[in-house]
């Protein structure tokens, strides 16, 4: 293990990480800045079920919406929900997870309580929360945070407990470091890779749930696009040959989820290698 191995140069060898980051960045940039060729919530009755062409890059659907404009517009809604949920889970879960690595019976009880949450399927919880809070898709964030925060805590705790047994932690205790210093100076930097990887996985899970909810028609009101709604709208058209209506939003979900998982996999490998 030399310093050179952890330099950015070798990161280029991690294709998945770079592919994933490129795709996710492109999607975010497109969602924020891309000018839309057509109004995503105003259908054109004269252009119904058009195949992809120079005028309509991804074709149009049965109402006359431009699929390309709506795929981009949907990213503005779906990605922030997924990332927001994942990041909030990390922000809450990491300090709590670190705290539970301190010795004490309280942390054991907390973890048992959290197991109950984890046993609950995210999608079912999400459906319950979204429908009970006025059918607004934004509320899915609560479901995501409720499920992903305990996952993050559990992971940080199990890694943290292993690292706590390290000699360098014992050395820090022997020099008189306070618990807070041990948590944030010695433990936290050694779980950074895991935090990033888990946040990425959480975002992928969240995106799937957001898409599934809107596919089921939960939390969305008609003209507003979401990838799940669009897939649903095109699902019946697949058999009659209008494949483009659900294919493109489907590809968007697939690319985003795959990219987030690729990022997580490579982060695991990179951080594992630089620390041992």
């Amino acid at each position: 293990m030399t310093a050179a191995e952890s330099s950015p140069g070798t990161l280029r060898a991690h294709f998945g990480l770079w592919f994933g980051l490129t795709v996710i960045t492109a999607m975010l940039v497109a969602a924020v800045f891309a000018p839309l060729p057509y109004d995503p919530i105003k259908p054109n009755a004269d252009a119904v079920l058009q195949a992809p062409s120079a005028a309509y890059w991804m074709g149009t659907d049965s109402i006359g919406f431009d699929v390309f404009s709506r795929v981009i517009e949907a990213a503005r809604r779906d990605l922030p929900l997924a990332f927001g949920g994942a990041i909030i889970s990390a922000v809450i879960g990491v300090p709590l997870g670190l705290a539970t690595t301190l010795k004490g019976r309280a942390s054991e009880i907390i973890m048992r309580g959290l197991d109950a949450f984890q046993a609950f399927p995210l999608l079912v919880l999400a459906i319950a929360i979204v429908t009970l809070t006025g059918n607004r898709l934004e509320m899915v964030i609560f479901a995501i945070v409720l499920i992903e925060t305990p996952r993050m805590m559990r992971l940080i705790r199990s890694e943290g407990l292993a690292i706590r047994e390290s000699r360098f932690i014992e050395a820090a205790e022997a020099m008189g470091a306070r618990p807070r210093r041990i948590l944030f100076v010695h433990l936290l930097p050694n779980v950074t890779g895991i935090i990033l990887a888990q946040t990425s996985i959480a975002a992928a899970n969240s995106l799937t749930v957001v898409a599934a909810l809107s596919f089921l028609g939960i939390g969305v009101s008609p003209p507003d696009p979401s990838w799940g709604v669009m897939i649903q709208a095109g699902a019946r058209l697949m058999t009659s040959g209008q494949w483009w209506v659900s294919l493109f939003p489907g590809v968007a979900v697939f690319l985003a989820v795959m990219s987030l998982n690729l990022i997580a996999d490579d982060l695991d490998v990179i951080f594992e290698r630089t620390s041992r």
């Binding site: 293990m1 030399t2 310093a3 390290s166 000699r167 360098f168 014992e170 050395a171 820090a172 205790e173 022997a174 020099m175 008189g176 470091a177 306070r178 210093r181 100076v185 010695h186 930097p189 050694n190 950074t192 630089t274 620390s275 041992r276």
Partner: protein, 314 residues
């Protein structure tokens, strides 16, 4: 003056399955200021537990541990924390004792940040630099991560960190046992030089008798958490009186042909530390045992001024 005093110190551990391990059992010893005391014994003899009791990382079940005249159990958590500045520690594993995410400079200066928070960053940097030089490292190394260093360099970083608060005592927990022979000699010489220059006291935990012979003034022999023999290095290692010490010494080859260690092999396996024996812990393995040996605990008896042995037949 004695820097460390242990009086009838006991420490047990409870395993997850409920059995109790008697790691340190009724240990009394003192370490005089400015000396090097070696704690020797096989793995599992309680050497490292003893070190951690002195560091205050473990508290004794009963008995008294005092450092610089202050009994650790009477101090508040904050006082013990302050006390930690007076004791340095170097561990066996050169790399594992250093946080892989901190640069060498940050590792060495950490005790200063904890114990001298008012010190300016520039002052800290200078002290780190001076200390790195004192342990024969290039101060430039402060900007590197421990993974990029050799085992010997990592151990020197550990030593620099142990010394930065100018402690009176340094606990060396097998500090050379995972190093190459050539590096081992260099590190031992460094310990000798630092002791001279700084008037340090060492508590040297080791199972390497050759190193102990070269390095220490006094030797304490532990067996199953009990002191079986203690005294000046020359007496204990040249004229061992306890059969366990004799067996320990006969297990190595002497470089001095005039010394022919008595060959007294022990029979059987060491008993489990989970069983508390009433008499001598060596009963059942000892070549010279008598029925008397198993009856009652055997106290250390002074044999030759400062040479003390816990054996009825010594």
């Amino acid at each position: 003056m004695s820097l460390i005093e242990l009086e009838h110190v006991h420490r047990t551990f409870r395993r997850p399955d409920g059995t109790v391990v008697y790691a340190v059992h009724d240990v009394s010893l003192t370490v005089a200021d400015g000396t090097t005391v070696a704690i020797i014994g096989e793995s599992g003899s309680g050497k490292s537990t003893l070190g951690r009791l002195v560091l205050g990382l473990l508290t004794p079940d009963s008995g008294r541990v005092a450092f610089e005249g202050k009994t650790l159990s009477t101090l508040s958590a904050e006082e013990i924390r302050r006390q930690r500045a007076r004791i340095g520690v170097v561990f066996q594993e050169p790399f594992e004792q250093l946080n892989p995410r901190l640069k060498v400079g940050a590792i060495v200066e950490e005790p200063l940040i904890i114990h001298a928070p008012n010190l300016k960053a520039e002052e800290r940097r200078q002290r780190v630099s001076a200390l790195l030089q004192e342990v024969d490292l290039d101060p430039q190394i402060a900007a590197r991560y421990p993974q990029a260093l050799s085992g010997g360099q990592q151990q020197r970083v550990g030593i620099a960190r142990a010394l930065i608060m100018q402690p009176s005592l340094v606990v060396l927990d097998e500090p050379t046992s995972s190093l190459d022979l050539s590096v081992r000699a260099q590190i031992l010489n460094l310990f000798g030089r630092l002791k001279q220059a700084r008037g340090l006291t060492y508590m040297f935990i080791s199972h390497d008798i050759t190193t102990v012979e070269y390095f220490s003034d006094h030797v304490v022999v532990l067996y199953l958490g009990r002191v079986v023999e203690q005294g000046p290095t020359a007496k204990v290692l040249r004229q061992p009186r306890h059969p366990y010490t004799q067996a320990l010494l006969s297990a190595r080859l002497s470089v001095d042909p005039s010394v022919s260690p008595p060959h007294l092999p022990l029979t059987g396996d060491p008993p489990s530390p989970t069983r508390l024996v009433s008499g001598c812990p060596l009963v059942g393995r000892c070549p010279i045992e008598t029925p008397e040996c198993a009856r009652a605990p055997i106290a250390l008896q002074t044999k030759d001024e400062d040479h003390r042995v816990a054996c009825l037949r010594a």
